[in-house]
Amino acid sequence: AQRVTQPEKLLSVFKGAPVELKCNYSYSGSPELFWYVQYSRQRLQLLLRHISRESIKGFTADLNKGETSFHLKKPFAQEEDSAMYYCALSGKNTDKLIFGTGTRLQVFP
């Protein structure tokens, strides 16, 4: 079955601390992985995707096919990173996205 698991509902850190939001997936084949973010009172938007291999706002994510993970990392958290983060996947035979349940990141000053 195709599934995305985000084990943490809430992650709280202090400003300047490293952050890792976990994402594990189950998919038969080669999926495309995404991280979407929703800041307070804003619409959901793409943060980054695996195929682009880019770093956005200091965040990176590496696809580990052996562990079927796509964890989101940032070495030094900022208060403005506080938001809801969703991991998602899609595959070659569908344009649908399968979302995880989301992790709320709180960055305290």
């Binding site: 985000q6 509902k9 495309e32 995404f34 619409r43 959901l44 938007q45 793409l46 995707r49 195929i51 969703y86 899609s90 595959g91 070659k92 035979n93 569908t94 344009d95 649908k96 996205l97 399968i98 979302f99 995880g100 349940t101 989301g102």
Partner: protein, 113 residues
């Protein structure tokens, strides 16, 4: 800039009412999607459409229907609203292709009393 708009930001309806949620995108995207967003459950796909007059069921289509008469507009219909349909509804659009970004609307918070 891609623009996805939804007809209402907040909506309050009574049990049994027929409810229409409208979504319009201005980027000539082929794909359009309707999700509901609930705390602890994430985003769940209700219906999606690859083209005009085409629709596909998502993961939770029961109690909903959709209409896509024009490429830019995708409507979600609750035939007879129930209290368990109280939720945040998000519309999204994208071009064809499984690696492509989905662009989301601001959401409609529907309360069914």
């Amino acid at each position: 800039d891609v623009k996805v708009t939804q007809s209402s930001r907040y909506l309050v309806k009574r049990t049994g009412e027929k409810v229409f949620l409208e979504c319009v995108q201005d980027m000539d995207h082929e794909n359009m999607f309707w999700y509901r967003q609930d705390p602890g459950l994430g985003l769940r796909l209700i219906y999606f459409s690859y083209d005009v007059k085409m629709k596909e069921k998502g993961d939770i289509p029961e109690g909903y229907s959709v209409s896509r008469e024009k490429k830019e507009r995708f409507s979600l219909i609750l035939e007879s609203a129930s209290t368990n349909q109280t939720s945040m509804y998000l519309c999204a659009s994208s071009t064809r292709g499984f690696t492509d970004t989905q662009y989301f609307g601001p959401g409609t918070r529907l309360t069914v009393l």
